[in-house]
């Protein structure tokens, strides 16, 4: 085919401009570290990566939520544990003082200790985490338990409500990480029993003291159950946490596959393009040197 002089030069121009733009694309990928620099680079990859990013951001948030849930549940567990110990001590005192050989003075002494136990129990009920009362239901800013005297017996009244605090730990999945004081403390009658025990010891009323021993055991079991429940939930959260951490790593891995450049591959590609570019320049020089004019003297 006949070739016009213009065709040579245009061909050189086209080749060089195409190779420049290809070099530029590779350079952009290498310098940004990303395969997709604009939607049209890889539309489907972009859709994938956006989905992965959203899921990743959700997983991160759930992990934060779980972390918080764990601290709530751990605190509940330890409050229940301490309440349990407190009940144990009360039972010990009850058994000792129920013995007929004890004097009224010893019982009066014991009554003071039981009074301390009641105060401790109320303080446990008013456990705070980050400024929140965790046993107050939704009334997290109000101390849930305050000491009152009902019919001469010291006890505590509940100022919170009957709701349990929930957090989201997965898609459509919430978990109650709070326990309201009504369920845990009031329903266990712990305060009433301790108040009654104290009064009975002060009154030297051995029969009532004995009666409270069984009540204390029931209350102890009740608290034990709640401790176990909080423990089970903490376990569930830990399981969830490790699953999410694995998922998160997986997601990051997949995201990196979609988004991040394969440097080795790109550098090889860059070398190849560089060679092609140099070759194009060289052939351009050779071609433009070829002219009949050079041979006419």
């Amino acid at each position: 085919m006949r070739v016009a002089t213009k065709t040579f030069y245009e061909g050189v121009q086209q080749r060089i401009s195409r190779l420049s733009s290809e070099l530029n694309e590779i350079n952009k990928k290498i310098s940004s570290g990303r395969n997709i620099n604009r939607p049209s680079d890889d539309p489907l990859g972009l859709i994938d990566s956006l989905g992965l990013k959203s899921t990743l951001s959700q997983a991160d948030q759930y992990l934060r939520n779980l972390e918080m849930g764990k601290s709530w549940l751990n605190l509940i567990e330890s409050a229940m544990d301490q309440s349990g110990e407190l009940v144990g001590r009360a039972i010990e005192i009850g058994i000792q003082t129920a013995n007929d050989t004890q004097s009224p003075e010893t019982r009066a002494q014991a009554a003071i200790e039981v009074g301390h136990l009641l105060d401790q129990a109320i303080a446990l009920g008013n456990t705070q985490l980050g400024g929140y009362y965790i046993f107050a239901g939704y009334e997290t800013l109000t101390p849930p338990f305050s000491k009152v005297v009902v019919g001469g017996i010291e006890t505590a009244q509940y100022n919170g409500d009957g709701n349990d605090f929930n957090i989201q730990i997965g898609k459509n999945e919430t978990i109650a990480i709070g326990k309201n004081g009504q369920t845990v403390f009031i329903n266990s009658s712990l305060f009433d029993i301790l108040g009654t025990l104290k009064k009975a010891l002060e009154d030297n009323d051995v029969a009532t003291v004995r009666l409270q021993l069984d009540n204390l055991k029931t209350a102890g079991d009740y608290l034990q159950n709640h401790m176990a429940d909080a423990g089970a939930k903490a376990n569930r959260i830990e399981g969830k946490e490790s699953a999410l951490t694995t998922l998160r790593l997986n997601l990051k891995d997949r995201l990196s596959q979609v988004e991040d450049t394969d440097l080795a591959e790109l550098v090889t590609e860059l070398r190849a393009k560089e060679l092609a570019y140099e070759a194009a320049l060289m052939s351009a020089v050779k071609i433009t040197e070829l002219s009949l004019i050079n041979f006419l003297r």
């Binding site: 002089t5 061909g11 939607p39 049209s40 951001s57 959700q58």
Partner: protein, 487 residues
């Protein structure tokens, strides 16, 4: 005697012919880089013979005409294909700008902003009573609103720019068609003496190509050599020495100042690209962005309205607001969300009043009640949200929508992906058209382009012929001398 003088005449004719050939070769060399130039050649022919006694002797050479090497078929193909190339080039260019509006590849895309908005709800649900988390949420919501506003603004601006581009292209078109009409007149005049007006034709061909770059074009050559130029939909632009102007009035395009809009009919070229983007591509993205913003306003407000602020027993507060205070609380399915992206903002209920965010689900708004926040944040993963997806066809004459059931996230993701796919399509079309155009140009140039080596050879060839003719004069002169010196 007649023998020698005829030799002199032959030599003179030859000198003239070679000189003309040299001029044409020089013209070719001079135009080696001229756009659209078709190489020319002198058509030589031997002069008719005369009889001397019984013998016929030739009278030498004469120039028949100067012809152009033109392949009409390729020329026509190029002139019509160039409108596709320019259309896709323009489209790919505008779309690559639009991609920057929807750029999700760097960290701070809309997806990221929406995710941060939901995360702020999560943090608030974890700490329902605290003001810092509430304030943080309001900030994130503000950022989200502003992002929608600026994206919508950018889209509106792009649409406006299409009108500006259209104005420019129409201005260029009018200038070009006027020149074609002028050239028509000149060519008809020049060719009335039956000699082709080669260079004027080249100029006119370039101008027709320019028209085709601007809008899809067909053209016909009349018997007298003038061109009639139409757009592909049959709008007459040039006939003989007359041209008709297009004019722009608002969103309409008029022909010959007749106030009837032809903008839906024009296709191809830059003008087709601007109109496609103005009436189809951009409005579709605007509609879908509005739909997305409207859906977020509606879904969030719907739940927010039935929740309770801190220490609040009344509820009925809104979170977002759209144009003219519309909060979509009384929104009926299917009603328009038009303008939602442009106007989305925090409602006066919550703006600057973090305590008014309806986090609580129970009347009274206890500081630990996060029930409503939990409901609102599950919108993020709610796959049962129904969102309309708009499709604009026929330059906005056919607007349809289909109901998609997806998460808000999915909806936007598909939407961004589609921009990428469209961008890819334009780029591929452009590359295809460009490759075809390159090939056609090469073909054209193989016929019409100047090859310098070829012209150099021509120069030598002509020079030698000229030398020989000059020699002929000298020899004839000597012959004449010999005769004159005879005694």
């Amino acid at each position: 005697m007649s023998g020698i003088s005829s030799v002199l005449n032959v030599a003179k004719g030859a000198l003239m012919a070679q000189q003309q050939s040299m001029a044409v070769a020089g013209h070719n060399i001079a135009n080696v880089n001229t756009l659209g130039y078709s190489r020319q050649a002198v058509l030589l022919e031997s002069s008719s013979s005369f009889s001397m006694a019984r013998i016929k002797i030739g009278m030498g050479v004469q120039v028949n005409s100067v012809v152009q090497y033109v392949d009409q078929f390729i020329e026509r193909t190029i002139r019509q294909k160039v409108s596709f190339l320019n259309e896709y080039e323009s489209k790919a260019h505008v779309l690559s700008y639009m991609e920057t509006i929807f750029n999700e590849t760097s960290g701070q895309g809309l997806t990221q902003v929406i995710n941060e908005f939901w995360d702020a709800w999560q943090d608030l649900a974890n700490n329902p009573g605290r003001i810092p988390e509430r304030t943080a949420l309001l900030e994130k919501a503000e950022i989200l609103s502003r992002r929608f506003n600026s994206m919508r603004d950018d889209l509106d601006q792009s649409k406006q720019n299409m009108n500006l581009n259209l104005g420019k292209s129409i201005g260029t078109l009018n200038g070009v068609t006027k020149k074609i009409a002028e050239l028509n007149e000149k060519i008809v005049l020049a060719e009335s003496s039956k000699t082709p007006a080669n260079d004027l034709r080249d100029q006119r061909a370039n101008l027709v190509q320019k028209v085709s770059e601007l809008v899809g074009t067909v053209y016909l050559e009349d018997d007298d050599g003038s061109y009639s130029v139409f757009t592909t939909d049959g709008t007459l632009l040039v006939n003989k020495n007359q041209s008709w102007e297009l004019s722009q009035s608002g969103n309409s395009v008029y022909w010959n100042n007749i106030p009837s809009d032809i903008s839906k009919k024009l296709s191809g070229g830059e003008i087709g690209a601007w109109l496609d983007f103005r009436d189809e591509v951009i409005p579709q993205y605007i509609a879908n962005l509005d739909e997305l913003a409207g859906t977020i306003i509606f879904e969030v407000n719907d739940l927010h309205y039935s929740g309770f602020a801190l220490n609040d027993a009344v509820g009925q507060k809104t979170f977002f607001v759209s144009n003219t205070g519309d909060n979509y609380v009384a929104h009926t399915p299917g009603a328009s969300f038009s303008g939602a992206a442009r106007y989305i903002a925090l409602s006066t209920d919550v703006k600057g009043i973090p305590a008014n965010i309806a986090v609580a689900g129970i009347s009274g708004g206890a500081p630990g009640d996060n029930e409503n926040a939990l409901k609102i944040l599950s919108l993020q993963t709610d796959a049962s949200i129904q969102i309309r997806k708009w499709t604009y066809k026929d330059r906005g004459e056919t607007i349809t929508n289909s109901l998609q059931t997806a998460t808000i996230d999915d909806y936007y993701r598909t939407f961004t992906g589609e921009i990428g796919i469209l961008g890819r399509e334009f780029i591929q079309n452009q590359e295809f058209q460009q490759a075809m155009m390159d090939h056609l140009t090469e073909l054209r140039d193989s016929v019409s382009g100047v090859n310098l080596d070829e012209e150099m050879t021509q120069l030598i060839q002509i020079q030698r012929a000229h030398d020989a003719a000059a020699k002929l004069v000298a020899i004839a002169d000597e012959m004449l001398q010999s005769i004159l010196q005879m005694r």
